[in-house]
């Protein structure tokens, strides 16, 4: 079992530029069902992907793959023709929020936005637009969602993942990989790993993902990785204290970050004394969450939380 994505997920790719094409290829190599692409200027064409299958991906596949992905002008056309039920957005920042809204209008039930650098005002509008639609947005500015050996949506390295017992949810890309790799080495593996992104305005939040993991029978524990800025971690702590039935371990990045400086991610900033790592760690500990003192300790913190 898993959350959000599985081997039945039918993926649509919005934006077939260099990055979009590269990662669509990596997802297909992993064994993900990529069924369509939207790229208006190339509508009617077919994009051919071929190469060696990723041996760490979906089991039981031939060594080599060749997949023809039809390209459509609009998301509605793509969904109508192929039954796509998830979309990954690689569209450049100026048009990315529009691409998200287009996917929501179709509607595509799961929209994963990878694009970094979308104007905040655009995301405020997009968030309002999708609020009453039957869709879930993950991201933007995130590594994506993966269920090991079933479905890879995004830009993460597939081979570090292993099917297992732990759910991972994170605001940071490379720190997700650290956590995943530690879980794999410890033999705990992952049910699903979800990057919720480093922007100040995003779709799915910690609480949403924790709720999904809470209800997923295969998930036995959750690692959450937060960072300075905002109050999403404090909200997660309140949820865990009240409703979470499974052990949670956490790491918060930015204990040494100065106030008032954006630490790479648009959302990673301590402003007006709010959003410090210390306050987040205190809230998480208060909720009974096991804190990893350094990022190297995320896997072992999970082990000790499992008891």
């Amino acid at each position: 079992m898993s959350i959000l994505v599985s081997n039945e997920t039918r993926l649509l790719v919005q934006g077939l530029g260099r990055t979009g094409r590269f990662h669509a290829d990596r997802s297909i190599a992993y064994g993900t069902n990529v069924v369509a692409a939207v790229h208006p200027s190339r509508a009617g064409e077919v994009e051919v992907f071929e190469g060696d299958s990723d041996r760490s991906g979906v089991p039981g596949r031939p060594d080599r793959f060749r997949v023809e992905v039809p390209i459509f002008r609009t998301v509605v056309e793509a969904v109508g023709a192929t039954g796509a039920d998830a979309s990954v957005v690689f569209v450049p920042p100026p048009a990315a929020a529009d691409a998200i809204m287009e996917a929501a209008a179709a509607p595509v039930p799961l929209i994963v936005a990878i694009t970094e650098g979308i104007p905040v005002a655009d995301m405020v509008v997009a968030n309002r637009y999708i609020a009453d639609k039957p869709v879930r947005l993950v991201g933007p500015n995130c590594p994506g969602v993966i269920t090991p050996r079933e479905c890879r949506i995004g830009i993460m390295p597939g081979y570090i993942h292993q099917p297992g017992r732990i759910g991972v949810v994170s605001r940071s890309g490379t720190l997700t990989y650290e956590a995943v790799y530690q879980l794999t080495r410890l033999g705990l593996g992952q049910t699903t790993a979800v990057g919720i992104g480093g922007d100040p305005v995003n779709g799915t939040n910690f609480v949403d993902v924790l709720r999904l993991f809470n209800d997923d029978p295969a998930t036995e524990g959750v690692i959450m990785i937060g960072e300075i800025g905002g109050t999403a971690e404090e909200d997660a702590a309140a949820f865990v204290a009240k409703e979470m039935r499974k052990p949670v371990a956490a790491f918060i990045a930015g204990t040494s970050a100065p106030a008032g400086k954006r630490m790479g991610h648009a959302g990673a900033i301590i402003s007006g004394g709010k959003g410090t790592a210390a306050a987040k760690i205190a809230a998480l500990e208060e909720a009974g969450i096991t804190i990893a003192p350094t990022p190297t300790d995320m896997g072992t913190a999970m082990l000790s939380a499992l008891g």
Binding site: G230, A253, M263
Partner: protein, 407 residues
Amino acid sequence: MKIHEHQAKQLMAARGIAVPRGTVAFTVEEAVAAVRPLVEESGNPVVVIKSQIHAGGRGKGTFVEHPDLRGVTVVTVGINGGIDATEAAVADLAAQMLGSLLVTIQTGPAGKQVSRLYIEQGINIDRELYLAVLLDRAIARNVVVVSTEGGMEIERVAEETPDKIHRAEVDPAVGLATFQANSLGWNLGLEGPVHVGFAELAKTLVSVVSELDTDLIEINPLVVTTEGKVMALDGKMAFDDNALYRHPDVAAMRDETEEDPAELEAKKTGLSYIKLDGTIGCMVNGAGLAMSTMDIIKHFGGEPANFLDVGGGASAEQVAAAIRIITADPNVRGIFVNIFGGIMRCDTIASGIISGVKEVGLAVPMVVRLEGTNVELGKQMLEESGLNLVTANDMKEGAQKIVELAG
């Protein structure tokens, strides 16, 4: 991106928000020349001379070179002495302020050099209020925040007298509705024409936010003049960097002298760099990993010299640029390279590090932690490179090693 007060006021004035009339001055002569037209137009002999730096608290701030002089000074000698006396006083003050270091609660003890002044008409103040528009991340919407405690630090007001702060959420499809603006005005105790003026100003300000993609607009104080006019006496604006591409006129207001030169150079080479005060330089891929690399150095007793995210890969050019930037900081006594290869192969990254280091040279110890595909090959390449590099198996080991080596 931040801009100066005089620029923020220019943007506000162009959109119909009342501000005192003023003139920007880069020299003493320009400051003096500004006085006469301002006084003659207003009929008020008082002018204000305001240091322009990208930091708050200027009114209470003082200069390293002139401990008794405030960053913002009201010149009143003209009341008895006339314009000539005002000009003489402005000449004296401008000469002291220009080129001096202004220390405020936001600049740090070193202060920031003042290279431009804003000379403004004096205003007869009846009441001082606070008004800001900023993003509330928890609801993914902008909020308008007002307070009766103008001129105070809003964080302190929020802590000590939270009942004096009122807010309204902005629906992106509506803007600030008239009823919301009215309520805020009544919350501030405003009535009659002043109330109408405030509500108009608040609605205009919210439209400025969506027009210009500001991260923050803060007017502290927003004043009611004795003539009953609602006016922005100060103005602070910061912009969403990701949206600057659609506001070239705003982007042109950037004052690069206000930014750290190393951070500026990094930005131009596609690196995300922030200078800190420690001794251990960091080169990392990914923002979260870069932040936690600083944290782990601190955890083991070291002090990070910087935040540096080289992005997805680590090409020879990027590594070379990163080393140049890190080692230009004279405090750096060691460098910790922490790369989680992910999609990129570690041997590719190792060759980037080797050629980057060879290109710029290395005078301090460097510890490299690599993880990802072909990690053994990558480590072997680093060890056989003949360069003064130490490899580490994980982040913890790497951090401990560099703290020890940089001693």
